[in-house]
């Protein structure tokens, strides 16, 4: 009898806790704009702005020759860094540059398990600095190297044909709102 009573009290207690909890649950589950859960993080790359001068990512996206680079930026999840206030100097390999890599390399890099490897390769193409072409020439003349976001240093050279960086030629230079894009003809694979 006593044991049964005890069980009943226990049951009663459980019931009550359940009642209180379920009440809270109902409230939390109520849909509405002001429910306190934080929405999924959206980075600066998602800012809609058709008026500002185009940033490095917007420019890359607008050009047909950089579809692989843009796909790589998105796969690596570094879009937000590329639209940052910078200033950034981006050495942008063309689709043809990516095609020079051994067969299957790009497809392999775009796989989600290689995300951090891809991100590391991409950071080897970005200098956290303001280097227009005239400045690159000066850097070359002074024998300076470029410090890249990957932590590696790249050679910059002035040749008869123009400027080369990390051994690859700069084909074209574009001013973007957060820095500069220099178009290059090879992927700058970091030295391991």
């Amino acid at each position: 009898m006593y044991l049964a009573m005890k069980k009943l009290i226990l049951l009663m207690n459980v019931l009550m806790i359940t009642a209180v909890l379920s009440c809270n649950n109902t409230k939390q589950a109520e849909p509405g704009n002001n429910s306190p859960e934080i929405t999924e993080h959206k980075g600066q790359a998602s800012v809609e702005d058709t008026e500002s001068a185009a940033n490095a990512l917007t420019v890359a996206k607008s050009l047909p020759d950089f579809t692989t680079l843009v796909a790589a930026i998105e796969a690596a999840g570094v879009e937000d860094a590329v639209v940052n206030a910078g200033p950034l100097t981006v050495f942008a390999p063309t689709n043809a540059a990516f095609n020079k890599l051994p067969k299957g390399t790009v497809d392999d890099l775009l796989k989600s398990e290689n995300k951090s490897k891809l991100a590391y390769i991409l950071t080897n193409h970005v200098a956290p600095a303001n280097y227009p072409d005239v400045q690159l020439i000066k850097e070359a003349e002074k024998g300076r190297k470029l410090y890249m976001a990957s932590g590696q240093y790249l050679d910059v050279k002035k040749t008869d044909e123009g400027i080369s960086v990390g051994g690859t030629k700069i084909l074209k230079t574009v001013k973007v709102s957060n820095g500069w894009i220099h178009v290059i003809e090879d992927v700058l694979v970091p030295v391991e």
């Binding site: 209180v20 409230k27 704009n33 002001n34 929405t39 702005d49 910078g86």
Partner: protein, 656 residues
């Protein structure tokens, strides 16, 4: 034992019944204690508020922009006071904004913001606000959120019953608090009575550009004019002003201006005034007042002195002004969205007085007058009054409307907001405020189309509401949900300066209009430098003009030599960025002024008068980029008799 267990079960069952989701029923009455008040003011990170609120800073002289329901502060717009953060009143471009007939006045007391309207609805173009102390009206752009224009009001003193907008923004009205000699003259103060006058100004607003011009003034008897409200709908064409001190006392007003049982609400027919102006019944008076305009293209303000104003004397203009007796020094004067009811809040009265516009017109037609005051007919009290809200609270001040037939009045002495019904005058609800509320604001609540979801009460006294900060504590605003039958207090939030009055509107009306940056090609500043290759330094005697640019992350030029002690150096700095939210700043060691904070595409100027020989640095003050801390430069200052040539470079090379 058995009894104990029975008691236990009975108790548990009762608790279960009560705990079982009692909120479903209780939510509305439990006020701020409901858990969901927090959710209703919570705006998720990255999401936007539903309403803008423009809350005046009172004695800060500024206007602050908040979001509702969160109460988050977005911007303090400098209007009547200098602001070192934005260089307002410190840079060469905005100094003219604070010019007056008394010279440069760097401060004022900003009271009543009001938003421009079209057809009685808020149109989201401009915000107007009055400076009380040195009478001025400002117009703020709701594209740039900058003060674009300030006009001084002549013949006025204590510009309090201002700056209220008629329903198509035909006029902004500005009434004087103090009556003064008009024109000003040297005379004994004791001769105030019948010699002092009160000027009420009608400022015409250009329908396209918003430019303000004092179209005319009505020279009223020497009372104090406290607050105003333009007619809406059926009463469009009229403006109603509360008066006190109809005793015309000039000292100890707290006693001497409380002698008359009733003061007046003055009803001014501005459409009639326009007819009189057309007929030439005005007098042109000499005057001296500043008109200051900021131009978005030149990024520069100009100040001009105006020399005359047209005035109308009501004694010569029948039908222009009528007085409606209203008990006990009325303060607030508020017109409901239909335009029919004019609510006068006698500061010292036991009841709220409501006049009917229809009754007023009828009384005028029937000439139901109780004599006149200085030639202005006084309408019979019992002819215009339509209702009274009896014993609603102590110290009634201001009323706004929800568009659903309800009015909300603040009570200073009893610290509460009272909701009552138009037409039946019955009190529906009352909620305390913390403490001593002044104005209240419902977005659109003084227009024909209120958005009756939230009410903001602006309190004068804070005491223990927040963490203490010494003798001076923040002033407080309180947000109530008024969507239901009963009001609910949702939120307290601190404010900038004194939250005197506010205007609000749905965010959807303004959000898309907000300017992102200034286009460099449209920059018409005389000293603009639109490319680094055009940067230069020019000497004109002792004046040196530096044409400088800024872009992530350097100044051009950043090394300057050839400046001498005794020079007056103008830094004209252009931000070359064309990207949203990339301002740059600049500050020079020892400059007797503020930093500049320059938006993309904009040019600003500060003056530096170096007094010591040396090499002096300047730097970017706005954390603009990853290399912000590298954004800096040097100016070499040589003795006054030095022969060092002017030179300017970037990275050791000439820019040109």
């Amino acid at each position: 034992m058995k009894t104990n267990i029975n008691i236990y079960f009975a108790t548990m069952i009762i608790i279960l019944i009560f705990v079982g989701c009692s909120k479903k029923n209780g939510g509305n009455n439990a006020g701020a204690l409901t858990g969901d008040a927090a959710e209703r003011v919570y705006v998720k990170p990255g999401e936007h508020d539903e309403f803008y609120a423009f809350i005046s800073g009172g004695f800060s002289g500024q206007l602050a922009v908040y979001g509702l329901p969160s109460g988050r502060l977005f911007k303090v717009i400098p209007v009547f006071s200098v602001d070192g953060e934005k260089a307002y009143g410190f840079n060469e471009e905005t100094k003219p904004m604070l010019q007056t007939s008394h010279g440069f006045v760097p401060w004022d007391d900003a009271h009543h913001p009001d938003l421009s309207q079209t057809k009685g609805e808020i149109d989201g173009r401009w915000c107007f606000i009055n400076g009380n102390n040195t009478p001025r009206i400002a117009r703020i752009s709701l594209e740039t959120y900058e003060t674009e224009e300030i006009i001084e009001i002549p013949n006025s003193a204590g510009n309090h019953s201002s700056s209220f907008v008629t329903e198509n923004t035909e006029y902004v009205v500005a009434g004087t608090r103090f009556s003064v000699p008009i024109p000003q003259k040297d005379m004994p103060i004791k001769d105030y009575k019948s010699n002092f006058k009160g000027a009420i100004s009608f400022i015409k607003v250009d329908p396209q550009k918003g430019d303000m011009n004092i179209e005319f003034q009505v020279l009223m008897p020497g009372f104090n004019y406290d607050l105003a409200h333009p007619g809406r709908g059926k009463s469009h064409g009229w403006v109603f002003f509360t008066t006190y001190n109809t005793e015309e006392a000039n000292s100890l007003l707290e006693v001497n201006s409380s002698q008359n049982d009733k003061d007046f609400i003055a009803a001014i027919n501005w459409q009639k005034a326009e007819e009189y102006i057309k007929e030439g019944k005005f007098k042109t008076m000499p005057a001296n007042y500043a008109h200051n305009v900021y131009d978005d293209a030149t990024h520069t303000a100009t100040s001009k002195m105006k020399k005359e104003v047209r005035v109308l004397d009501p004694a010569d203009c029948p039908g222009l002004v009528y007085f409606m007796p209203t008990p006990k020094s009325p303060h607030g004067c508020d017109v409901d969205p239909s335009g029919e009811y004019i609510v006068g809040s006698g500061k010292l009265a036991a009841s709220l007085t409501v006049h009917s516009f229809t009754n007023m017109k009828k009384a005028i037609d029937e000439k139901a007058f109780d004599g006149d005051a200085y030639g202005i007919p006084i309408l019979k009290y019992e002819k215009t009054i339509v209702g009274e809200v009896k014993q609603p609270g102590l110290g009634p001040l201001h009323t706004e409307f929800d568009g659903k037939g309800n009015a909300y009045t603040t009570f200073f002495i009893s610290s509460e907001v009272v909701k009552w019904k138009l037409g039946t005058w019955e009190v529906i609800d009352r909620k305390p405020t913390y403490y001593s509320v002044g104005h209240l604001m419902i977005p659109g609540g003084n227009s024909q189309k209120p958005f009756g979801k939230y009410l903001v009460a602006m309190n004068k006294i804070t005491k223990d509401r927040y963490l203490p900060t010494g003798p001076e504590v923040t002033q407080s605003a309180q947000l109530y949900d008024i969507s239901g039958e009963k009001m609910e207090l949702l939120l307290d939030f601190p404010t900038v300066g004194e939250p005197h009055y506010a205007a609000g509107c749905p965010a959807s009306l303004l959000e898309a209009r907000s300017k992102k940056f200034y286009k460099l090609e449209e920059n018409k500043h005389v000293y603009a430098t639109k490319a680094e290759k055009d940067a230069k330094v020019v000497r004109k005697g002792k004046e040196v003009h530096i044409y400088m640019t800024m872009i992530r992350s350097h100044f051009a030029p950043d090394n300057i030599e050839g400046i001498k002690v005794g020079d007056k150096v103008f830094f004209h700095v252009t931000n070359l960025e064309q990207d949203y939210d990339v301002p740059h700043g600049i500050a020079m060691i020892g400059a007797n002024t503020s930093e500049l904070l320059i938006m993309p595409g904009q040019t600003e100027t500060f003056v530096w008068e170096p007094k010591q020989v040396g090499v002096w640095p300047f730097y970017c003050t706005d954390f603009c980029s990853a290399l912000h801390q590298e954004m800096q430069g040097y100016v070499r200052v040589s003795p006054g008799n030095s022969n060092i040539e002017l030179s300017w470079t970037l990275d050791g090379e000439s820019l040109n």
